[in-house]
């Protein structure tokens, strides 16, 4: 039999073990995420140009310049365009992906023959990187060789589809390609949610003579709340990080019509040698993300506790 002291030690070790297991991950997150965020905040208050803490004369002396990077940032029409585009892009992207994802999930859930064949077709775009699917999209949307040309070839000679060349509509073509990439993934999340629904309630409702429409509207869709929330988190995260897609499809053009905050930040930090302004834009981005995500995380996590 173990002595009392040994038992005590063992219990204490067992008590500490979970925290010990968690600590490497936490340490990494604190250094590599939150530490780096603080670093970025600090850079945003300096006159850093080509490297952090290096001023434009190339001296490793730098000045703390207060909020002037933020003042410059908000005076740039370039930034206004990026923010406006983000609002349009994220809004439509999330709504359309959710709608198509839900629609396809419901349709696929109707005992479809060949579901195992169709599902990977909906899902595969998520597996591809935009470094090159961007080129395929660029071609398909190009009026001279893509859809417009083909439809005109069918005899509808007045058909026009030149959105990618049009400043006012180009952002919508970026949304189209983004929806192509992630709506299948959203579908998978909703399908999983549908398959997890308690069948007893459905049977009861059907007994009461509820129509399919009402069945979905009143009973099934409300039960998908967790799926909606997960989809929102994943889609919001993808929307904010959108970068390759724009670079590959439009390069931010025509003109500056499809710039997004991520492309803005990259360009100021790395191509324009104005790291201070780039850092300021990153801070604004992070604050926006926090403003959206913290209430969500709070409500989600608190609910789970109870």
């Amino acid at each position: 039999m173990a002595t009392g002291a040994e038992v005590d030690l063992r219990t204490r070790l067992q008590n500490w073990l979970p925290k010990l297991v968690l600590s490497p991950s936490l340490a990494m997150i604190f250094v590599f995420v939150y530490g780096f965020i603080l670093f970025t905040v600090y850079v945003s208050f300096t006159d850093s140009r080509i490297l952090p803490f290096v001023d434009k004369n190339g001296q490793t002396t730098y000045e703390l310049i207060g909020f002037s990077n933020y003042e410059k940032l908000f005076s740039l029409s370039h930034w206004d365009i990026s923010v406006m585009n983000m609002a349009i892009y994220a809004g439509l992207y999330i709504v359309i992906c959710t709608f198509i994802g839900l629609l396809l999930a419901i349709l696929l859930d109707q005992k479809i023959r060949g579901e195992g064949f169709i599902r990977p077709i909906f899902l595969y775009p998520m597996a591809l990187s935009f470094i090159v699917t961007g080129t395929a999209w660029k071609w398909m949307l190009d009026p001279a060789i893509g859809f417009e040309n083909i439809v005109q070839g069918w005899g509808w000679t007045t058909f026009t589809f030149d959105w990618i060349k049009n400043r006012d509509f180009a952002i919508y073509t970026v949304i189209l390609a983004a929806v192509w990439q992630s709506s299948g993934f959203t579908m998978a999340m909703f399908l999983a949610g549908l398959r997890g629904i308690d069948t007893e309630i459905l049977k009861a409702a059907q007994m009461d003579g509820a129509s399919n429409w009402n069945l979905y509207r009143r009973i099934i869709i409300p039960q998908l709340r967790p799926a909606f929330l997960s989809a929102f988190v994943i889609l919001a995260h993808l929307a904010i990080k959108t970068f390759d897609l724009v670079i590959a499809m439009t390069g931010g053009g025509p003109g500056r019509a499809t710039e997004l905050p991520a492309t803005f930040m990259y360009s100021y930090t790395f191509s324009r040698n104005q790291m201070g302004i780039g850092a300021a834009s990153a801070v604004i981005m992070l604050m926006t993300i926090a403003a959206i995500m913290i209430p969500y995380l709070y409500s989600e996590l608190r609910e789970r506790k109870s």
């Binding site: 660029k138 030149d162 003109g255 019509a257």
Partner: protein, 416 residues
């Protein structure tokens, strides 16, 4: 706060400036020349070094005309692991040189006599505080016009030498139902055209005042407005589908006879040659109308990074190989550019290449050689990109000429 500042400063200084060398016998080269011809030409350099017993660690990162490579470079320098040599353009070299991050090549330069063979305008981008810091590979000139000869002949058009002749030629082509100007609507292409148009509109003094000295009077002048008006004329004579097009597809339009002219740097020649076209017979190359005397240039160089305060034998060998006449000739014949040293024989070059070498020498001696704004040889990256913003916004109809001039003045102010 001061303590934090000091600590950060010290740590960054350590990260940024103590460069550690890779493997002693190797040179590591960061570049973005990954397309067939360019990479093959660079392989000549690699072979040259290997014959001297020096290994070549290749570090290619393509994309965005070197933008990706510059991002990677920042990461490498911050990590204290700078490559031996990095392909670089214009003001980037000066920026890195001012950080003290580049090596002092004066000993090699003196031995090889670089001061005598490299044009002064180019030396300005290869020296910092009187020290050679990088080895120039080539000189591209950007104010070329490429034309399909049979299209021009069919419409009775002679090579235009003035803006008025050019507008007449464009209108003739438009009336004949040919797209007059092939163009790709990307910011750097718009700016390449603007470079030539501004030079042609205001002449070399204006170009220098506006783009190199960033004189706000010149930037906001009526001449600048006139230049924007001329851009609007060009915009009106490209096809509807120009936006976002790669430059080489625009070149293909000229090759196929769908379009008459393209304004593009000398690298466009490679596309014609690859399509089996002969300079002078199938296609013509000439300076943008009104800039016959001038050459706007950009030059690819290999900036040599400081490897702990000493220039190693390998680094020195790399630098002198880059400037050796044999490599300069071999590389530039493939690349379409002209050698960075003026004493290289033009025997292996075609007509356009010979013309380019002659123009360069003439412009260099008559003070008509200027760094290209569009290609980062007139002003720093921040200003260049601010100009891009305005030029491309105007070209795409977001601003009229008057607004564009105002925006240009403000944008340059903010970026400085």
């Amino acid at each position: 706060m001061t303590n934090l500042k000091m600590a950060l400063k010290a740590s960054v200084a350590v990260f940024a400036l103590t460069a550690t060398s890779a493997v002693a016998e190797d040179v590591e080269v960061l570049h973005w020349w990954t397309s067939g011809g360019e990479a093959a030409a660079l392989n000549v350099l690699k072979g040259d070094l290997e014959s001297q017993g020096i290994g070549w660690q290749d570090m290619p990162v393509a994309g965005g005309g070197g933008e990706q490579a510059m991002t990677v470079l920042r990461a490498r320098v911050t990590a204290g692991d700078a490559p031996t040599a990095v392909q670089m353009l214009g003001f980037d070299i000066l920026d890195w040189g001012n950080q003290g991050a580049l090596a002092d090549l004066n000993a090699v330069a003196a031995k090889e006599g670089w001061d005598d063979v490299v044009p002064a305008a180019l030396q300005e981008f290869a020296k910092v505080d009187g020290k050679w810091v990088s080895a120039p590979v080539n000189v591209h000139s950007t104010n070329w016009v490429w034309a399909n000869k049979s299209v021009l002949d069919a419409n009775g058009i002679a090579v235009p030498t003035t803006w008025d002749e050019f507008t007449a030629a464009v209108e003739t082509l438009a009336a004949a139902g040919v797209t007059p100007i092939a163009h790709g609507g990307q910011a750097w292409q718009d700016a390449t055209v603007f470079d030539a148009v501004a030079m042609s509109t205001g002449g070399p003094d204006f170009y220098k005042a506006a783009f190199i000295d960033l004189d706000s009077e010149a930037l906001g002048s009526d001449t600048m407005k006139e230049a924007f008006d001329r851009m609007a004329f060009i915009r009106a004579n490209v096809d509807d589908n120009f936006s976002g097009r790669d430059w080489n597809l625009a070149t293909a339009m000229v090759i196929n006879g769908e379009a008459g002219f393209q304004m593009m740097g000398d690298w466009a020649k490679g596309e014609f040659l690859n399509a089996g076209k002969v300079p002078g017979e199938d296609f013509l190359c000439f300076r943008f109308p009104g800039t016959t005397e001038q050459v706007t240039f950009n030059a690819d160089q290999f900036a040599m990074f400081d490897q702990g305060g000493v220039v190693s034998d390998q680094q020195a060998a790399l630098a002198s190989s880059i400037l050796s006449p044999s490599f300069q000739s071999a590389f530039n014949v493939v690349k379409g550019s002209v050698p960075a040293r003026t004493d290289v024989s033009d025997a292996d070059f075609d007509d356009c290449g010979k013309q380019g070498m002659k123009d360069l020498a003439a412009a260099a001696s008559s003070g008509n050689l200027f760094g290209s704004m569009a290609h980062g040889h007139a002003n720093p990256a921040s200003v260049k990109n601010a100009m891009y913003d305005v030029i491309t916004a105007h070209f795409n109809g977001e601003y009229d000429s008057e607004t564009a001039v105002d925006e240009l003045v403000t944008a340059v102010e903010i970026a400085q």
